[in-house]
């Protein structure tokens, strides 16, 4: 057994390898978790030269936290470019022009009457923003400035963990966004309640860690290690070593199906049902090493990126890919699908960033990024973060409007390895060669969570209740398909088949229209001629009915088409000067 020892909360760790022959005592560096509230300073602007390392190096010991406020003050004083907080409040006075002021007032009034009273009252925090001054790009605003401009609790969400020894780090936030698991490439795994900055557990697995993933709750997480897949609990105790899952590189957890999907170096895509511990499917994709993976949260389809530039879509029910899309010229470096399951963003070695509509499998936008993006992540509100080398850029509205510059940018120390937006928070977690950085990204997270689904403030009792309910309504893996509403449709084929079977069994069609048999009439009115005439009349009537129906259908379709055109023309009725030449 390899040592997977749970640790106390002390940052000083001493681990013993259990193999009696070796008896190596490994001491993990004391500086694993420099806790707050002081921040190791990255450069204020990412294009500036990074400051000397000596300035940033922080000596850690237990007393640091108490000294921290002083340190922070000193830094503020030293900083030349520091903004005064008053400036923000004076902002309104900067509008000198009357028109501008009026506009602003009008906008405020509209907002106050409509949004604030209706939407904002019901759903607070719907309006979040980052706006620069006139002539200032929002991407030039540093995290420091943002953290200082917002309130203390929000400001504390910007922090760095200097973990240079076991990096680079991958990370994952739990479904409620409360907990963070970090997995260092060189074996360091740590779980953190990142809001209260409490360390839940910290272990060194003494092996390469490829990926980490929370399971359905913060009680368990899966770690893809050098050889096998392991599951640990939140105290760092090894629960399972799953030898059926080897050489796993990337993992995705499907929360409503309780499936852990893994992509391995041996080109296997495997599904593990974590509620019963069984392998649901093992698919040999025959496409080489699988290190690009994401899931579509709307239909639980797994997207894999390959070296030949294709992205393939998989479900556990089929041994072949559902869809193969050629997305890039070179290999695919990263894939992300948004929360609504509509858009897929891919980046490749050809330094392109492409946006696809995954419902129609159509390309929407293509951007050129000079350095190429190695990691992508989409937030709940549709912000896209892309990592190029050691720079993290955040883009807004990549699928609706052509974007020419990032919304935000930040330089971290070391190449970015993992990138993840925190659910229900305006926070982007970045795992890199030198540890972990939590960035503030205004407008990223969903502000209004649903208390019965993923509640960041749930009590222990509520969590138990939720877990039982979630397990009860676990969706079976057979129901995964490209269209998740398929189950609600009428099965027309089976319906027809059953009707045919019934006709076969009965020997006649019970639903068929009865043939018209003319009534017998007296006084010579049932002569052969008049019977024929009556039959003809009825037949004629039937035909008229049918024709009337088809004509009505046609008119209806025509009307719909006209309405659609009308609508489209209203949208595109911007008259251009060239319209006069149109015939």
């Amino acid at each position: 057994m390899r040592p997977a020892v749970s640790s106390s909360r002390s940052p000083f760790l001493a681990k013993k390898n259990k193999t009696p022959t070796e008896q190596i005592v490994i001491t993990v560096a004391p500086s694993l978790f420099p806790w707050f509230p002081f921040r190791p300073q990255p450069p204020a602007r990412y294009w500036q030269e990074p400051q000397k390392k000596d300035e940033n190096k922080v000596e850690i010991d237990g007393k640091v936290t108490k000294q921290a406020p002083l340190q922070r003050k000193d830094k503020n004083a030293q900083k030349a470019k520091k903004r005064k907080p008053e400036e923000v409040e004076d902002h309104g006075k900067k509008f000198i022009s009357g028109v501008r002021l009026l506009c602003e007032q009008l906008r405020c009034r509209v907002i106050s009457s409509k949004v604030l009273l209706t939407k904002n009252y019901l759903f607070p925090f719907n309006l979040r923003f980052l706006e620069g001054d006139e002539g200032e790009d929002t991407c030039t605003i540093s995290q420091e400035d943002i953290a200082n401009a917002v309130d203390i609790t929000s400001g504390a969400k910007y922090f760095n963990l200097k973990l240079s020894q076991f990096g680079p780090y991958r990370l994952d936030y739990s479904k409620t966004g409360c907990h963070l698991v970090l997995g260092g490439r060189r074996g360091h795994v740590a779980c953190i309640d990142w809001r209260s900055k409490q360390l839940m557990c910290e272990i060194n697995v003494m092996e390469t860690v490829n990926d980490v993933k929370w399971l359905h709750s913060e009680a368990m997480y899966a770690v893809a290690q050098k050889k096998w897949l392991y599951i640990y609990d939140s105290n760092g105790i090894e629960l399972h070593c799953i030898r059926k899952f080897n050489d796993v590189l990337r993992m995705q957890f499907l929360p409503y199906h309780f499936l852990l999907a893994t992509a391995s170096a041996t080109s296997f895509l495997q599904y593990l049902d974590v509620s019963v511990g069984k392998e649901v499917a093992a698919i040999c994709t025959k496409t080489g090493r699988l290190d690009v993976m994401c899931q579509n949260p709307q239909n639980a389809i797994i997207h894999l990126g390959h070296h030949n530039g294709t992205v393939t879509l998989w479900s556990p029910n089929q041994k072949e890919a559902l869809v193969k899309m050629l997305c890039h010229q070179g290999s695919v470096r990263s894939v992300a699908v948004d929360k609504t399951g509509t858009y897929m963003v891919t980046s490749g070695m050809d330094k392109k960033l492409k946006v696809y509509d995954v419902r129609a499998f159509k390309p929407l936008k293509s951007y050129f990024i000079p350095a190429g993006a190695s990691c992508l992540s989409l937030s709940q509100r549709g912000l896209l973060s892309a990592a190029t080398g050691d720079i993290v850029q955040v883009y807004r509205d990549v699928w609706s409007t052509p974007v020419n510059k990032p919304y935000m940018a930040h330089r971290v120390r070391g190449a970015v390895w993992g990138l993840h937006f925190c659910p229900f928070e305006d926070v982007l977690g970045v795992g890199h060669g030198d540890g972990f950085t939590s960035m503030l990204v205004p407008g990223a997270g969903e502000p209004n969570f649903d208390g019965l689904d993923a509640n960041p403030y749930r009590s222990a009792k509520q969590k138990q209740e939720w877990e039982v309910k979630a397990l009860l309504e676990k969706i079976q893996p057979e129901l995964i398909s490209l269209d998740p509403t398929e189950l609600g449709h009428v099965d027309q084929a089976t319906l027809e088949q059953r009707h045919q079977d019934r006709v076969q069994a009965l020997g006649f069609d019970p639903l068929a229209k009865e043939k018209f048999v003319p009534k017998y009439k007296k006084k010579g009115r049932s002569s052969a001629g008049s019977v024929e005439r009556r039959k003809k009349q009825v037949g004629h009537e039937d035909q008229r009915d049918m024709i009337r129906k088809t004509v009505e259908d046609k008119m209806k379709i025509e009307k719909e088409r006209q309405e659609r055109e009308k609508k489209a023309s209203v949208f595109s009725s911007k008259k251009s000067a060239l319209d006069r030449f149109k015939k």
Partner: protein, 445 residues
């Protein structure tokens, strides 16, 4: 620079004290709740399974009779009172809430053939094999008093059935003929005969109170108007009907239990063919009773089972049986629509739930809400094969199960033969006769 980020105050989301209820903010945005159909389907499947788990319909067995139970009567005003008469002429009055016999009286010599409670609930009538009609007080006699009928009428022939008018002091009996009696007189005010046959059952229409229907042993069902001297019309079927029951809500429909294992629902105005044929029993059907809502009825059969049918469904939605229950002779649906009472050959009266999985007793609002939600889901996904398979599954005693399969094979063979005959005959020479048309011989007016 202007910036606003998400900053939540935990006090807005966490309850203040332990005695408050938890705060649960909701957001019904569909993108936060994916797999809507799949999750609802899973819930529906679970609800269906739970329904089958909790389906325990048998509540109690009332024992005390010393011979088989031949007839039962519901009290007109009291839900908890039931009267039963047995083969040895004994009548017992039961308190259903205590599940106890409160009174026993020796009413007749030989069978008690019929029993009915007066519409006011103060007295009841019994008829027996000893050719008498007796009227009894509902209260037990005082201490030291003899158990004496209020009134005894000696008839000329044996009476086999009895029913009371909804409001008036008039009742009807059947035997060799159908007689209408005034409570004050000792001879019938009117007698109906049609041919020379005996009758097994007579029932007053609950809405058009002057109308009656009776089942005769010459395979016919006859309709009467009390105000006329002659019967109205009759329908003759291929086999004899044992009893019939009017639908209390749509009183132009009645359902009769037949010897040919089926039940037939007829429209009184159009007797040429039944509205619905209810099939599932594997032996003669002996008794039938409608629920007070008129949406379902329950039937008792010689095959030792009880089945619940929807009023317009061809097959039963529920089947009740126990190892010990023998041929079920009489059946009643309680007036609060919750219970079913069955009297059987082996001297017991059994109390069943009308809805097998229903939880009895007071429900909390949350319980009720959960049950209603489950009900709706089951309804929504009822046609999905998995859900339907579980919802329809019933355990049957081995002999009934085999008998049912045997009947099915026989029916299929007959149908196949007919189809082949039709195939090899001149077109139109062998017409398709529907199941409904098969069982009616003729209608006589």
């Amino acid at each position: 620079m202007k910036v606003k980020v998400l900053s939540r105050n935990p006090d807005d989301y966490v309850r203040e004290t332990k005695h408050d209820i938890q705060r649960v903010p909701r957001n019904y945005d569909p993108t936060l709740h994916p797999f809507e159909v799949c999750r609802e389907y899973t819930r529906a499947l679970n609800a269906t399974k739970l329904e089958r788990v909790f389906a325990k319909p048998f509540l109690a067995s009332l024992d005390g009779h010393r011979d088989g139970v031949n007839c039962m009567a519901k009290h007109a005003t009291s839900l908890s009172t039931l009267l039963s008469g047995s083969y040895d002429g004994e009548v017992k009055v039961w308190n259903l809430t205590k599940r106890q016999c409160v009174r026993t009286l020796q009413a007749h010599e030989g069978f008690v053939r019929g029993m009915v409670v007066r519409s006011c609930g103060t007295s009841f009538f019994t008829v027996g094999d000893d050719k008498t009609i007796k009227q009894w007080k509902m209260e037990a006699p005082g201490y030291g008093e003899e158990e004496e009928p209020l009134n005894t009428i000696l008839g000329k022939t044996v009476f086999t059935g009895l029913d009371h008018h909804q409001k008036d002091a008039v009742f009807a009996t059947c035997g060799q003929q159908v007689d209408i009696w005034d409570e004050q007189r000792s001879s019938p005010i009117r007698s109906f005969t049609w041919g020379m046959d005996s009758f097994s059952s007579v029932r007053f229409n609950p809405v058009e109170t002057e109308l009656l229907a009776s089942c005769a042993s010459d395979r016919s069902i006859i309709l009467y108007d009390m105000r006329e001297s002659m019967p109205l019309k009759k329908v003759i079927m291929t086999m004899r009907s044992n009893t019939l029951c009017w639908n209390p809500m749509e009183a132009y429909y009645f359902t009769c239990s037949n010897e040919d294992y089926n039940l037939y629902t007829y429209d009184m105005r159009y007797l040429e063919q039944p509205v619905t044929v209810h099939m599932d029993h594997v032996s003669a059907v002996l008794d039938v009773d409608f629920s007070p809502t008129g949406k379902e009825f329950v039937s008792a059969s010689f095959d030792k089972t009880i089945r619940v049918f929807p009023k317009d469904g061809g097959h039963s939605r529920e089947v009740y049986h126990t190892k010990r229950m023998q041929h079920v002779i009489c059946i009643k649906w309680s007036a609060d629509n919750k219970y079913i009472l069955s009297g059987s050959d082996e001297m017991n009266i059994r109390l069943w739930k009308a809805n097998a999985a229903e939880k009895l007793g007071v429900l909390t609002p949350r319980e009720r809400q959960a049950i209603n939600y489950g009900q709706k889901l089951k309804e929504k996904f009822q046609h999905h094969p998995q859900v339907r398979r579980i919802a329809r599954h019933r355990h049957l005693p081995k002999n009934i199960y085999h008998q049912r399969n045997e009947l099915r094979i026989m029916k299929e063979a007959r149908r196949r033969k007919e189809r082949n005959v039709r195939k090899h005959s001149k077109p139109g020479a062998v017409p398709v006769v529907s199941e409904k048309e098969k069982h009616v011989v003729t209608v006589v007016k």
